[in-house]
Amino acid sequence: MSPPALLAAVSGIDTGDTAWMLIATALVLMMTPALGLFYAGLVRSKNTLNTFMMCIGAIAVAMVTWALVGYSLAFDGTGSLIGGLGYVGLHGVDFAPREGTAIPHLVFMAFQATFCIITVALVSGAVVERMRFGAFLVFAALWSVCVYAVLAHWAFGGGWLQANGTLDFAGGVPVEMGSGFSALAAALVVGARKDYGRQALLPHNAVYVLLGAGLLWFGWFGFNGGSGFSTGNPSVLAFTNTLLTPACTLVVWFGLDLLRGRKVTAIGAATAIVVGCVAITPAGGFISPGWAMLLGGLAALPSYAIIVWRTRTRVDETLDVLAAHGMAGFFGILFIGFFAELSWNGVSNGLFYGNAAQLGDQALAALAGPTYAFIATFVLLKLIGAVMPLRASEHEEALGMDVVQHGEEAYVTGEGAILVFPEDGGTAGVPVADPG
């Protein structure tokens, strides 16, 4: 980089766009701890910290892999299947504007990093309460590169789906379908919790779930609103649709809850917020506010159906990432094919406005994204499983992952706690009575 670039504003940068994208990046990063809260409320109290820590672990691992190699593979060049290695270690990622935007390349990279992070965190929902933390971190590192970066390249980085004309505003392919169908594969490889289907395994704190969903929604304004990389019309449209769509999903979800159990449930509402936000993610900048409202209402139906169906199966995809993210993302991607409107998005019409080809492009993405995510995740976890155990023992699972994996408890009372002085040495568990 030439020294003047450090001193003066670089030409081609829009300060308003950059200001918004800096904020949007921070908003999206916040979504990962928000997801941690959402997930932590849905598990049993003995697994609270471990569940939350998988999301924090995703930040740690995926940020590093992204900077080292993931960003380059996703966003360097327009190779059909995968990007290049030109940005490895963030080489050449600086203050100059990222091609196609008026924001510094560094900000673009950081914004995309937060997407990779939350997608890795999302997959953890399939394997909580039994997967070993160390194995999850290894999985997170490899998955962020082998699955997320590849799908991100296909959909946003100039890969074959984008080149083919698939519209994906904020990550229906890499983030939503990518996490959802990977979650299904992960649940199948890791296997069900030992008590799944035999005992009621209930959410331990519905308030965490609601608060987490609320913070996710708040962060999603950065996620969708930032995916135009500007303060221009696509961003404004996506931002407003992010308000409209989840509200409509909530209304329909309330109705479905009433029909099914005669009561509107809080955890159902939290789920509906996520489903609505997911559905508008791919479509945000491409459809009118009116169609966005319809999308919100309709997207509730398949996700609700999958949640009801899944819990009757032996598939312990624990926190329903497939239903909330995979299915709603799938629905949103296809919806663009019908209702994209050139007068709103300036890019393309959908079938409803006379362009049937767009639906074909969307259907291709809705087929390719899930297929790659499922197969790649399945193989990746089988490989990791061949070199290290993926899950804790039954005894450890019974004790709870917080104590076993982290040596902490979320709701520690201090009763019976004896201070251990460092000079005493022993940090290993010691039997106080000889069982013999």
Binding site: G407, E408, G416, I418, V420, P422, G429, P431
Partner: protein, 88 residues
């Protein structure tokens, strides 16, 4: 049934909170108090032994004690009748 804390000789949990390391001497336990008529004593003991056994230290113990009197409040039945299941 009540949730209690206790120590059955199992391994103590060692936990660390920002550099403060502690041994947690008490573990979460459940205590069952079950009143049954004489002919149900052995089946109850057998059922608990089967259901609660993991083979590890800390599975728990069963104590069988005599009861002086029992009254079922709803019907006023006493003793044997009060603690024997009703067929409906």
């Amino acid at each position: 049934m009540s949730r209690v804390q206790g120590h059955g000789g199992e391994l103590e949990r060692v936990e660390t909170y920002r550099g403060t390391t502690v041994k947690i001497g008490l573990a979460e336990k459940v205590r069952f108090e079950i009143a049954v008529s004489d002919e149900f004593v052995q089946p109850t003991v057998d059922a608990l032994c089967e259901g609660a056994r993991t083979g590890e230290v800390g599975d728990g113990k069963i104590f069988v004690l005599p009861l002086d009197r029992a009254v079922r409040i709803r019907t006023g039945e006493t003793d044997h009748g009060a603690v024997t299941p009703v067929d409906k």
